[in-house]
Amino acid sequence: MAKPKLAIYWAASCGGCDIAILDIEEKILDVAEFFDLVFWPCAMDFKYADVEAMEDKSITLTLFNGAIRSDENYRIAQLLRKKSVVLCAFGSCASEGCIPGLANLCNLDSILDYAYIKSPSVNNSNKIIPQTKTKVPEGELTIPRLWNTVRTLPQVVDVDYIIPGCPPQSDQIIEVLTTIIDILKNDKPLPEKGTVLGATDKSVCDECTRERDIKKITKFIRPYEIIPDPDLCLLEQGIVCLGPATRSGCGAKCVLAGAPCRGCYGKPQNIRDQGAKMISALASVIDSTDPEEIERIIRTVPDPIGTFYRFSLADSMLRRVQI
């Protein structure tokens, strides 16, 4: 019997997800032994044409990381959807936009303008901005068109499962891959479509062992301002920790190391908009009834969108500030 086929692709992403897959150490050998790795641009040389040549639904599992922000991302997402039985949005970029998704605060023109012209580190006196088509003596060069809006993978194609995290934790990747191998080997039923794999239904607080009590916040503190109490809930110490509104599964590693949760595992099961939910929760525990005092306390949160929507802006209900 032929081995099941595995594809791993990166769209608009940093590459961290691919590294996270490699980070499963010797388990990668089990994966390589069980699957026939047919497509993994980050690790080996494959051509899009190879994939196009495959029969539809011939790839058993595709782990797709990265957001969709170019014609190329979109084309390959559609291609892999067509060729795969199971398509997983792997990591935060694919599932909710992640850092690339923050581009949705601005429009494409202003991003290009800043990245290629206005940025202080750029010396571009001719104001050259990448064009999709460029004529050179050898002929016409094309690069994929960049989109005005960053999309998540589920926003553009039908996705079977989501594996959250920036990046997904390697122990969770092992868990997911082992489970899938077990399912395929023993012909077990697949999980329900839309299931979030490699995570739980609760929030990071569930895995956090810090002591928690009734919360009353009088001031938000940035992590560098204090040495946090090692045993007490960071939120109770005034540090904005997104743990309460973030899906658990990561093992609360950041929080237990003293760094507040930034929310990379995305919204919990019942939540539509992670940032809004966290703001709603925080607003509830601000310890004042005086509107001016409340305003003053709220102002101690720097960069609210970057804080509350760092990973989920593209998937949120917020729309861009700059049209």
Binding site: R212, K215, P244, A245, S284
Partner: protein, 584 residues
């Protein structure tokens, strides 16, 4: 103790051996006069007025003092033999030679037939009975008094005649001094209006007439026993042995099915309104002080008197002090017009004083109220439409009419007026109690801008609150008069009884619940519930909602960062669907 038989004036009685003859005589109803005897103290035999003749079976007799002569078997006592009378007479004459005829001595002299004491009449007022010294020593335990000097210089005083630091001002010495040698100085017959509330009271008393339970209690601030460890007289006289000095305030936890809040109001303090001179001029009274003075049990016996003890010639009653006033309370206190009219009626009934009512609007809205107003008008009360503006001491030219001058504008004749009066009554506003906010927090109800508790609905649920099972009665909900208070109190009682008798209580189907499998125990919701319905399960590490307490306000639902809290019938999905429906 063995029982022994004695006879007094021929009447036999069995008493304990060694007990004193005076007690046996008392039991037999034979009167023996005393001056220095007090049943709760060791007999002292200083005055010797209780002299009696003791005789044994063999005919041997002698004069002894009954108060400290011990009984022995076969003792015969005679209390009215010529020898006894002579002895008492001589003793009394000797006392009188030292001490001016105090009423108690004069009475005895009349009784014994002492017309002119042979050794003259003294000028002192003390008979050296030692009751004061001994009561301070034995009963009160303050040890503040003593005998000093000897012989004819002997006298009762504090040690070294200095002001005693040990004296607790209990007044027991003055109370038991038979001649009035020791006196507590009183206030010269002046009536301190500000102290009208302080009726005469003992340290053990029933706090007020309607007190529940209607039983006396010890005021530890004034109890001699609490101050010195002595006294305990009340426990000695209480036949049921009810006195318990060890009793302390206790906090009890009660399981109850309904709560009626009837915490009432507090009187507006008119002191800050300096134009009325309350607290500055002695005869400017607040309405409650005037009401207390009118009580038959007041220090004035219900008479309307000024501080100098004289009846006022005229009285002004000023309405709306602190009510209907932008600077204080904007609302109408509702009860003042009617009690002001009642005051006018009382003044007319009890005195010949002129009465002036100074009002903004006469609000006689209740049943029979307008009729009462009309009656007051026929009683010759001067009714002036205009709020009292200022009270100043009256200049000398007004001294024949009054000591104070009330300045006001009479809006009906459009003139400024100055009215001389002797007494002013300020009809002060009813205001919410200072601790109303605390009470509101305790019972999860709310207060309005004026501090009154807010009812569930002003028209349809005027007795209920937003907290199920908590009801309001009386002025704590807003100013109201006695009939309205009684009506609301009765309604609250009816509501409570209905709840108590239900057995099972129907709850609103809309309440919030926590889906345990999604709760991560972040505890963000824990401090939010205005109804204290949320608790944290330390073992399961999840929060829980008591659905019986939940009012479905949704605060926790909005706050729950994992969406584990769901408002039944108002779930996120339902609300999103509604929004989508509207936007479609």
């Amino acid at each position: 103790m063995e029982k022994v038989s004695i006879t007094i004036d021929g009447k036999p009685i069995e008493v304990e051996e060694g007990s004193y003859v005076l007690q046996a005589a008392e039991e037999l109803g034979i009167k023996i006069p005393t001056l220095c005897y007090y049943e709760h103290m060791t007999p002292y035999a200083a005055c010797r007025i209780c002299s009696v003749e003791a005789r044994d079976g063999k005919g041997w007799t002698k004069i002894v003092t009954a108060c400290n002569y011990p009984a022995w078997d076969g003792l015969q006592i005679f209390t009215d033999t010529p020898r006894v009378i002579t002895a008492r007479k001589v003793n009394l004459e000797m006392l009188m030679s030292h001490c001016a005829p105090a009423p108690v001595l004069q009475e005895l002299a009349d009784e014994l037939g002492v017309k002119e004491p042979r050794w003259g009449i003294g000028t002192d007022t003390c008979i050296m009975c030692g009751l004061c010294v001994r009561i301070c020593d034995e009963v009160v335990g303050a040890h503040a008094l003593t005998f000093s000097s000897r012989g004819i210089d002997r006298e009762v005083s504090t040690p070294f005649k200095l002001e005693s630091e040990d004296c607790i001002l209990c007044g027991a010495c003055a109370r038991y001094c038979p001649t009035g040698h020791i006196r507590m100085t009183d206030t010269n017959g002046r009536i301190l209006h500000s102290e009208l509330t302080l009726g005469p009271n003992t340290a053990i008393s029933i706090p007020f007439r309607q007190a529940i339970p209607n039983a006396p209690r010890i005021d530890p601030d004034y109890c001699i026993h609490m101050a010195t460890g002595g006294c305990k007289l009340c426990s000695k006289v209480c036949p049921k042995e009810c006195i318990n000095y060890e009793d302390k305030d206790e906090f009890e936890e009660l399981e109850i099915g309904a709560i009626i809040i009837a915490t009432g109001f507090q009187d507006f303090d008119p002191t800050p309104m300096q134009q009325f001179g309350y607290g500055k001029y002695p005869n400017v009274l607040s309405s409650i002080e005037f009401e207390q003075m009118n009580n038959a049990a007041s220090p004035t016996d219900g008479k309307i008197l000024m501080e100098n003890g004289e009846e006022p010639r005229s009285i002004a009653i000023l309405h709306c002090i602190g009510s209907r006033d932008e600077d204080h309370h904007k609302y109408c206190s509702r009860v003042c017009c009617m009690y002001a009219l009642k005051f006018a009626h009382l003044v007319k009934e009890k005195t010949n004083a002129e009465v002036y009512q100074l009002y903004i609007d006469m609000r006689t809205f209740g049943k029979g109220y307008e009729e009462f107003y009309q009656r007051i008008l026929t009683e010759g009360v001067n009714v002036i439409r205009g709020k009292g503006g200022e009270i100043v001491p009256a200049p000398p030219e007004y001294s024949s009419e009054g000591n104070l001058l009330v300045r006001c504008e009479d809006t009906l004749i459009g003139k400024f007026r100055e009215i001389p009066v002797d007494m002013v009554i300020l009809c002060t506003a009813l205001e919410a109690r200072g601790d109303a906010e605390d009470i509101a927090r305790k019972f999860n109800i709310s207060t309005g801008a004026d501090g009154w508790f807010i009812e569930a609905h002003p028209k349809l649920a005027p007795v209920s609150t937003t907290t199920e099972g908590v009801f309001l009665a009386g002025v704590c909900q807003g100013p109201k008069d006695i009939p309205d208070t009684v009506a609301q109190g009765t309604a609250a009682a009816a509501h409570s009884i209905r709840l108590l008798n239900m057995g099972e209580v129907l709850m609103d189907a809309a309440y919030a619940e926590i889906v345990e499998e999604f709760c991560s125990g972040c505890r963000i919701c824990n401090g939010l519930c205005p109804y204290n319905a949320i608790t944290f399960d330390e073992e399961k590490k999840v929060s829980e909602i008591n659905s019986a307490l939940c009012k479905a306000c949704g605060t926790c639902v909005a706050a729950c960062p994992t969406g584990a809290i769901k408002a039944r019938h108002f779930t996120d999905d339902q609300i999103y669907a509604q929004i989508e429906g509207i936007l479609a």
